[in-house]
Symmetry: D2
Subunit: 248 residues, 4 copies
């Protein structure tokens, strides 16, 4: 395994870290020292004799694992946002704002070597945090731009798809329209119905088409030999996703 690779140490509890020979990880289940060579699937013993499996982190794990100063986009939302926005290996995408960089990381890992991610953020402390978090990406395909897009828009850029995670998405619809390539896709995420409504009505005014808002729910199951049922408590709401296409 290459130095710097993200690994998930698992022993009932999980610890997300990156591989460096000799690195010591302190957990409440004892201290783990990483060996000189490591492969996924290896077993490491902590100082208290506890066995830890070296697992391949999912993208959900990596997103949840960023250092955060903001709420992050939930995987249940992030996955469908990528698909609705047509993001794939090679896409050129925009994002505002960057926040902790969790969704930026997902974009970077998805568009890969041939793609490019431009993320806009006006708060300096978030830019630093996000750049730190983005080190997990194996690709050098992202750029964080310090800018207040409410006032300055996305001038100088053209995106296949644009993701808006700002409190007032309707205030950047005009700017977004300029920056989305013909026939390209807008995706915004907002917790409140009022935000959804203002955004949708503004998208209509600005000539966007195929405008669609929805939310996603993830319901965990409890599976045991003696009984199968949904979990008793669930996260009921994160936000509404709005997708739209730039027309002419």
């Amino acid at each position: 395994m290459k130095i710097g690779n993200k690994i998930l140490l698992y022993s009932g509890k999980k610890f997300l870290t990156s591989f460096e020979p000799g690195k010591k990880i302190h957990t409440h289940l004892g201290k783990i020292t990483l060996p000189d060579e490591l492969e996924f699937g290896n077993i490491l013993n902590s100082s208290t004799g506890k066995e830890f499996l070296v697992l391949r982190p999912s993208i959900s794990d990596l997103m949840k694992g960023v250092k955060r100063k903001t709420t992050i986009t939930y995987p249940k939302d992030a996955g469908i946002m990528l698909l609705e926005a047509g993001v794939r290996s090679g896409s050129i995408v925009g994002e505002a704002g960057t926040g902790s960089g969790s969704f930026t990381l997902l974009l970077s890992m998805t568009v890969g070597k041939e793609g490019k991610v431009y993320s806009f953020e006006k708060r300096k402390e978030f830019i630093e945090l996000a750049l730190e978090n983005l080190k997990v990406s194996p690709w050098d395909n992202y750029e964080i731009i310090e800018r207040d897009v409410y006032y300055e828009g996305f001038v100088g850029h053209k995106f296949d798809s644009l993701f808006i995670d700002l409190p007032e998405p309707w205030e950047v619809v005009k700017q977004g329209r300029e920056a989305i390539k013909g026939g390209g896709i807008w995706v915004s995420l907002s917790p409140n119905t009022e935000q959804v409504k203002k955004t949708v009505l503004t998208l209509q005014e600005e000539g966007f088409v195929r405008i669609n808002s929805f939310e996603t729910l993830r319901r965990e199951m409890v599976v045991r030999s003696y009984g199968t049922r949904p979990k008793e408590i669930m996260r009921s709401h994160t936000g509404y996703i709005t997708v739209a296409w730039r027309g002419k």
Copy 2:
């Protein structure tokens, strides 16, 4: 735009097709003739004078657009499956069975030039159909293998993640275990609770860890100037997703 590129012609109704100069598309809104050069965002006029926008299809559009002889994986499920399985640009992934190739297409578009998709299918007619549908992918990174994995498993292959869309996932847990790299990820999808239970219990027996089953729901919103509310009817169930990690 390159010849063969997928485009979505939109005029209230949508028509998914691929770009070829001079191609004629017959719709109930008139005949559209594609010009010699085309860009996303262009407007085309049909023979009845109807304007059509040339839109960039989302991955959801492409998945829904495959010719099918089977039910396909819904985008709401497909998106989170990719994230939970850690699929990214560059991943080596397995799939059984191929079916109409809709999810195979998503995998191909996500893992990109550096990645690789091996999809297993025993029914010849589906292999042909899937290969036809996979022409949409810009990458030559997939292989469909004619094989009954219930009996023959995945011998000769090692995957970062493996996707199972077969009626009896529990019957291939052993085979899957062999084929998933250490620390790698299993994802299966099944409509019935009985299938989920058998799969989860078998994964436990075979030493998989972090086993988790869940379903996702997508709830559309109706947004109008005079009222915002969820749509009255929704798709309530597609299937349960089970994710697990191969341990040692």
Copy 3:
């Protein structure tokens, strides 16, 4: 069984009717002639030899069975509305508007001989329809009052609980406050989030307490020997219920 009793004739399909000796019911499964004496659980043969069971209708059946010119309150909502409003045998309750009388019927059947239902409706044709539908109730405990409560309120009445099914519930909060007894309960039902918000904010202004809005969902299961799962399609939205208590 007494003449006039509601019965459900069931043979895969169901037919809601009332018992009268010699009555003929024409169905696509043949003609059924009701005998002189009838008990629930009896079997009747149609003219084509089809067997029909005589079942006891649930309140859901009776509510769905009314002749309607409006949408009716769904049982999933109606049941919890009764409980939240504290309606029981003996309650004095108000309702505006009556509509087709389906919820009025439920109220009448629940408050019983010692209770009383006052239902307000301004449209004459609905009053007639509702009175027709209310004949199903075994109790003579309801009164439909022709009045536009937006303008005239509920003057002359005092209710333990008041149910509002009008397009603009916030316009009758003041009037409702006058008519609800001290410590009594308001319940309104509206499809749109904007309606909920206006109603809640007005209830707050008028000194209502314990204000709570929610929606209910009913998810049907498919149970077969070979597989158990939720139904694929469900009614996703009917309306939001708002409950509040009149303070001082």
Copy 4:
């Protein structure tokens, strides 16, 4: 107000108690002394000067207010169970088991003076607890019978509707069939899908018709002047309700 009437003292927090002149209620907001005469809507001052409103408890409040040694049926389920079972003022209903008596209380309050509730429970300590909780009902229309219905059934009784809240409902289908009047209604509630399946298949074998299983969800809304949205966390699962009609 009559002595013994249940009241809800409300001051942001709520305290369910019953009216007795001179009674002292100790809360963390001070001590409240009930006056000689009390009406709903009155305001009482605690020893610390805090104002308490005297509110009419909803049936939900009363059900949640019972002293419990078991989980109780949630109002979202209880309401629809009553409607599907056709319970109304005057019904003759059965229940097994009684548990803490919360649902028994609801049945008693709904069937009223002309109705009757027979509830079966084998554990003596629950019978005592339920009888204590049932004092809230204004009606003397219930009877708790000490009996193990798995072994002894409901011999000697005939019900319009029968409610089963036991771990193995399928084990009392035969006994239930004997005790439900012709054309009458079975309702059972179970948390696990395996229980639902066994119950449904046994109901089919025993000739029940119109068998239907479903679950209900209650999703709370957050309504503020600056934003409306579903609450972030919800109770996702309580149990599946199965309704069926006794045929011949």
